[in-house]
Amino acid sequence: MIGLAILLAAQGCERSPTEPSESAPIVRSPDVRAQQFDPSISVSTLLDSLQVGGIYTVLPQGGYSSLAYTRLPERAVYANPIRNHPTGIELPAGLPVRILAEGLVESRSTLAFLSGYCVRYGAGDTRCTTPSYTYTVHGLAPGGDVAIPYALGTGLQVAWARGGTRFTAPYPSPEFYAGPVPSSGSAASAELHFRRDAGCCYYPPFGDSVYTAWETYTGRWRFAAVMDDGGRPENGVAPVLTMSGPRTDRPMADAATFTLSAAGGDPLGEVQWWFVQPASNTFDGEPLPFVLEASTGLMVPRYPDAQRSVHTELVDCAGMTSCSFRALAPGALVARAKIPNGTILGARNAGAATTPLPRLTSLTAVGPNAGGSFTTLAAESQIGLQAQVTPSSLGNRVEWSVGDEPTDLVRSRPPQDVPSGTPSGFRVPAIQDTSRYRAYTHPGVLAQKALALRVSAQLTDDHGNVVSSSDTTTVRQDEIDTMREEYIELGVPQGVPGRIEFVTPDEQHVSNGDYSRALANALFDAKFARLVAAWTVNQLRGTITGGYRNPVHNWRHITPRSGSGPVGASWHMYGCALDFQTYPKGPTTRPDSATAINYWDRLAAAAQRVGFRVEPRDPDPNNPRRPYSGLGHVHVEIRCR
């Protein structure tokens, strides 16, 4: 983070030998030097020295460069051409600025921080910079103060931090400043970190009496305009330099052509442009990525370095009154130029503030079931699509793309066509790839079974060109619908259980399936409760060896020597069948076998008395040596659907 240092000086004057280090070069006007180096001057005095029409030099060091957002009677001053990029753009040093007007400073609460950031030296000059999330103060002199101007009401307030003294109550509060204060007399660079909390940045909330400013500046101000906003008129005053083209204070979808023009028809010189990709800011609803600063524990917004472009010189624009150039990639565009009166102005595209760039946001794709899930059942396969389109009149220009979600292990079949416009929707095709059920090792994970479709959308213009693209979103089956999908795709004859029939397995609703849910049936449970009550031999619930099984699980168990699996019509798949262990387990002696048979007989008879059906005693002809129902267990069931 680099701050913006301003030193006000007359155009063309030489540097003072008393200026601080080169890291903060200063060019100033001799006629204000005396005042400027007066250790007793305030910021108010300093700014009062600015003359309308005078040319001064701004020495930006990057960062957020907005000094003020003002409403002046004579002329608009818009201080920050790149206000949307408070942490990401490095401004070149040596920008001359012109005082455009003077007037009453009027802050806007929508601006996060209002004014410059100043360092006042006890025996030297005062340098004002722009506060930034991380600001480096170089060469803080003994006794030097740090001023943090901020907006309050219609005035400008400045909080001062005295060198070597930590901010104390009542101001700034911890949310205002949480970093170290450079010690008095320190010659080393120090960083000041300012917390940016939601809704309040570098100034306290209005009307909060806790925050008492140390100095308050009100009244008429002379003010230095650093940059002009270009095409955005303020109070009817045209900008000095304009740039036309797509508005760039929000992410752009494609490269676009911009035109930079001097408002007065003057030729341009030294034209440069650069852009930040993607364009984003903390004011327009596109938050910057916040990163943790280890030294302070504060989260501060940062543009990644990779998102900044290099500065590009537009040599061919030299001497032209208007120059067009094309941004080669999406992003916020920033440009600057020099006009003959010596002023170099930066500008960004303004566009028509009342005609926002068509945008596509807030993409949603939701299935009809709880949580937006779905199945391929006709009544549950309709996916609703919706996108937020600005302006909403362009809703019919939304084109949808639906495909398999590539991050899982299922090849979900997308629909062939999706109607354009928003809202829209599609049906998930009923025929899906059932080979997925053979493609994993039992029991598998959800990503190997659940259907999921990735959805994206694009907004097109009259010519079919894409003007905005959405992020992608994925509509995905939840666990319950993934389970139900097995019944659907595998055509289990008894049909598809409803979502509400699924429960979390417990001692009674035992699951031998592949999921964290099981099916329960009230009728079955009631009969089971009667059986439990009638059964006095042991704790029947503790003898359950087979409960719920999902259909695919049954496949596995139908395989020879792989387990106790029923057919595809098994009531185990509906929570309407249980297997009970018989005792003694695995009898090997004749008495034990007799006891086991008695146990089987007694339990089977008891189950039949309460209305359960049981497997026959007849041996399975496929395995005639095996006694009825395996002897090892008693299978009970009801027809519950």
Binding site: G491, R561, G563, P566, G568, D601, R617, D618
Partner: protein, 345 residues
């Protein structure tokens, strides 16, 4: 139909069988919606498939249709299929063999149910041989045929030992609602076996509401050679029926045992006939006569005489058991029952 055909010659047997079975299952399952959409004729044809899972799926699909929608050909096929499964004449499906596989057992449950719902007496044989093993409902259905069910139940008893517990219970259900002649026959059959199926007789007593067997059940429950599981079942049945036994007046209780004795003696011949009906040395002391006389004395209030006659029956019964004329169970039924009556006189 099968979705995958794997080159089994290149695979180990187990892997091949796994894949083959899985492919059939997938095929069957995937075809199920189509099966539902198929005509009943197609479903009927599927009943003849050699693949167990195909038959099972067809059975379940047919089970979901109203019985009235099933044409005679389908009914015939279902009845025949159950009978084939019951008699072991249905070809074995080698693809569905797993040590603990429940496929066949669950399929039989569904098959028995759909056949039962047909309400066709031609299904009696299959239901008796196999269906009654799956549910009390099937047993009650068979029992509702009364005397008509006796022959197939006897066939099941004699040809399929695994069916005997279910046959016993079903016979008790027949006895519960049949006419007196049929009841005699049924009770005779019910009391004929030896002590092979103690749990079945306990279940039958409850199913047939045979409260006269309570003393018998109590006695069996104390038999030291029975497993605790069996003892518990017998005691449970006795306890279930005991309230009826204790609330019934002595004359009616005696009549209950007259009925049981009549069942044991029904169409008796040889030594059993002697026990039941023959006099000794010109004295009318057959079991039936003594019981009848005892009942008459009870009615007349001559309880001492009645008691003496009953004790004579007990003594004769003990001898008959010792001589092998009566089975142990038959003997215990009469002896313990009459002792119960004597105690109440």
């Amino acid at each position: 139909m099968p979705l995958v055909t794997l080159p089994h010659a290149l695979r180990p047997r187990a892997a091949y069988v796994f894949c083959r079975a899985l492919s059939i299952v997938i095929g069957v399952m995937l075809s199920a919606p189509a099966v539902r959409a198929q005509s009943i004729d197609s479903l009927t044809a599927a009943l003849g498939s050699s693949a167990l899972l195909v038959r099972a799926s067809a059975v379940e699909s047919l089970n979901r249709l109203p019985v009235s929608a099933l044409p005679s050909a389908t009914r015939d096929a279902l009845i025949a299929l159950l009978e084939r499964e019951a008699t072991g004449t249905q070809p074995v499906d080698p693809e569905a063999t797993a040590d603990d596989d429940e496929a066949w057992g669950e399929y039989i449950i569904g098959l028995a149910e759909v056949v039962q719902q047909l309400g066709d007496s031609r299904a009696l044989r299959g239901l008796c041989l196999l269906g009654i093993q799956t549910s009390r409902s099937a047993q009650e259905y068979v029992a509702s045929f009364g005397a008509q069910a006796i022959a197939p139940l006897r066939e099941a008893w004699s040809t399929k030992p695994t069916s005997r517990p279910s046959v016993i219970t079903t016979l008790a259900l027949v006895a519960k609602s049949a006419d007196s002649t049929t009841r005699l026959v049924v009770l005779q059959t019910l009391l004929a076996p030896d002590d092979t199926f103690p749990i079945a007789i306990a279940d039958a007593a409850i199913a047939g509401n045979l409260f006269g067997l309570v003393p018998f059940l109590d006695s069996l429950a104390r038999a030291p050679d029975l497993s605790p599981i069996a003892q518990g079942a017998l005691q449970e049945a006795a306890d279930t029926l005991r309230p009826q036994l204790t609330s019934i007046p002595a004359p009616q209780l005696l009549a209950e045992y007259e009925g049981l004795l009549a069942a044991i003696c029904h169409n008796a011949s040889g030594a059993l006939q002697g026990y039941c009906e023959s006099s000794e040395n010109g004295i009318e002391n057959s079991a039936k006569h003594l019981l009848a006389s005892s009942a008459q004395h009870v009615q007349q209030g001559f309880t001492n005489q009645a008691r003496q006659e009953l004790e004579q029956v007990v003594a004769r019964t003990v001898n008959a058991v010792s001589a092998g004329t009566l089975t142990a169970w038959q003997g215990i039924v009469i002896i313990t029952g009459l002792q119960q009556v004597i105690a109440r006189l």
